[in-house]
Symmetry: C2
Subunit: 341 residues, 2 copies
């Protein structure tokens, strides 16, 4: 089978690709080819796999070509992130709305030409939830909470959920939308997402670097580890339509946790000296965005698919440290673990 992963060079996309290549099959079908479409080329280990093909550039440019290309399945992860979309309204419309529409239309074009509809998993986001004056947001959002997004990113994700639902209803795709919780701990550098600090306050101290937390320690948030997130996307892909249930987006599992609890877990795993590298310095812009996010999420439909959140955040910190060690093949101390040296 042939798969397309948009955003396939990104952190979640590359991890998804690695997991799929290691499994070798998806839904019982052998994976013969994975196309990774992204703005940047994928990591070298992925490019070294004979089944992997990279397609570099804006997704919008690739969609025309996809009309002539057989794809059995698509994981649509490509997206401009929340901070970028707030700063550049047109970028969000183009990268998140227009690109998704072009992708869906390419898949529809194939069905109109006689092909079987491709399976598609769309990565939506917990950012679809937000408080509106007319609709108070519950403390814990569920699969059936009314989304009233308070960012362009959230609006665009929610709109795409509805496009995926309608293209599915019409038989142009077999689409499913899964709302990702905030993925933490992300490696690498901070990105433009307002949620970036949820990784930074763990990653930077472990690397021996000071981290700034722009919100209060009491802020609560639903998070998920990278691997549970990838496992969730695969499970949603493999679920039957009956098991997925309807066409409405579902929440992936969340560990609902406060910043203080995250830092306590960091201290429990890595010691007080590492924990002490986090400094609180409020950033009104980020704190304002985060204040409009839910403080926790429930994922009943995901649980029915067998998907559960992590038991505790210490396990997530340990997963991150293990990932860093595994990625480190040369001699010496991996940068990301300098704080533990």
């Amino acid at each position: 089978m042939q798969l397309l992963i948009t955003g396939g060079a990104g952190f979640v996309g590359a991890r998804l690709a690695r997991t799929l290549l290691q499994r070798g099959q998806l839904g019982g079908q052998a994976i013969t080819r994975i196309v990774l479409a992204d703005m940047a080329p994928p990591p070298a280990d992925l490019l070294a796999d004979g089944r992997v093909e990279a397609r570099v550039g804006p997704l919008l440019q690739h969609c025309e070509g996809l009309r002539d290309e057989a794809m059995d399945g698509v994981f649509h992860l490509a997206s401009a992130v929340s901070g970028e979309c707030e700063a550049d309204f047109d970028l969000g419309l183009r990268s998140n709305l227009d690109s998704t529409r072009a992708l869906l239309d390419a898949l529809r074009h194939r069905v109109n030409g006689g092909a079987a509809p491709a399976k598609l998993v769309f990565s939506s986001s917990v950012a679809v939830y937000g408080p509106d004056a007319a609709v108070p947001m519950p403390a814990i959002v569920t699969d059936t909470t009314l989304p009233t997004p308070q960012t362009s990113y959230g609006i665009q994700k929610h709109i795409c959920e509805h496009l995926v639902a309608d293209y599915t209803r019409k038989g142009y795709i077999d689409g499913r939308s899964a709302r990702l919780m905030t993925v933490t701990v992300r490696p690498g550098r901070p990105n433009g997402a307002a949620s970036s600090f949820f990784s930074g306050i763990i990653r930077e101290p472990l690397a021996g670097v000071e981290a700034i937390c722009p919100v209060d320690a009491g802020v609560r948030h639903p998070v998920s580890s990278p691997q549970r997130t990838v496992d969730g996307l695969i499970a949603v892909y493999e679920a039957s339509r009956e098991a997925y249930g309807g066409r409405t987006a579902l929440n992936l599992p969340a560990l609902n946790i406060s910043v203080a609890e995250m830092l306590a877990a960091l201290e429990a795993v890595a010691g007080p000296a590492v924990r002490a590298r986090v400094r609180f310095q409020r950033d009104e812009r980020i704190a304002g965005i985060v204040a409009n996010w839910p403080t926790g999420a429930r994922a009943d439909r995901a649980a029915a698919l067998g998907l559960l959140p992590e038991d505790n955040f210490a396990d997530i910190v340990r997963q991150y440290i293990a990932d860093c060690r595994a990625a480190h093949t040369g001699p010496g101390t991996p940068d990301a673990l300098k704080g533990l040296a």
Copy 2:
């Protein structure tokens, strides 16, 4: 003040224009100009008013020009209807999504150029509601019911609600979305809307013509008269942002009624011979669409703005007959009232 009504030659749009011209003001400001944009030219009585200007053709074509034109307020009613959108997927995307986006971008362009944001009322629809396997629809939908639309028309209306909310949040417009109930009794000929029969089963018998009802008599549905609908749009326009509440769409008032009750009201007003002209002949396509619509609606936010549904359907039938008589200026019996002759 200068106003734009998209869909301004349509039944609701023309009635809105007449009502506004008669009032002479909106929100306390004198109306100096109303641009009616539509596929067809507006009725002659509107064109005869010196304040009215017609713009004929697809809305998408007019939006570029709107970037250079000062508009204080917009009523955005233009839309391809539900039956059309099911039959022609591209038409729905173009007429409902792309046109709305182009309109919003034209208004944004003006704000980016230094103009004050235009006020905009978007006419959404009760068709945003529908049953999804994962989200059962309540018998009576409310302002906070999760929309899971089951038609392309409903999906597109709901997507536009979210665009209006985000352009408003960003300060590009002062936008409000009002969900219209099924407007009945519409004059003229049946249109491509699956709900068209809700007018036909009253209008045709009154004109001495047989009408076919494609659904069972027990089917319940939220309806509203043309005038209450127009009054609702105006009230939503005139409401302060605080009174409107948040940025989420609100329901306009609904009279929740069954087909049997509608026909009983017809008989009470016009007699059994008129009622007898309605024949039941099930149309599976229409019955299938209607089965996915809510059987009633509540409109708490509209009620807080002072908007209430009609007391009974007989009043709606009488309003329609009075409208026909008022429109009839020549000698003889107006066609629409032949059944009462």
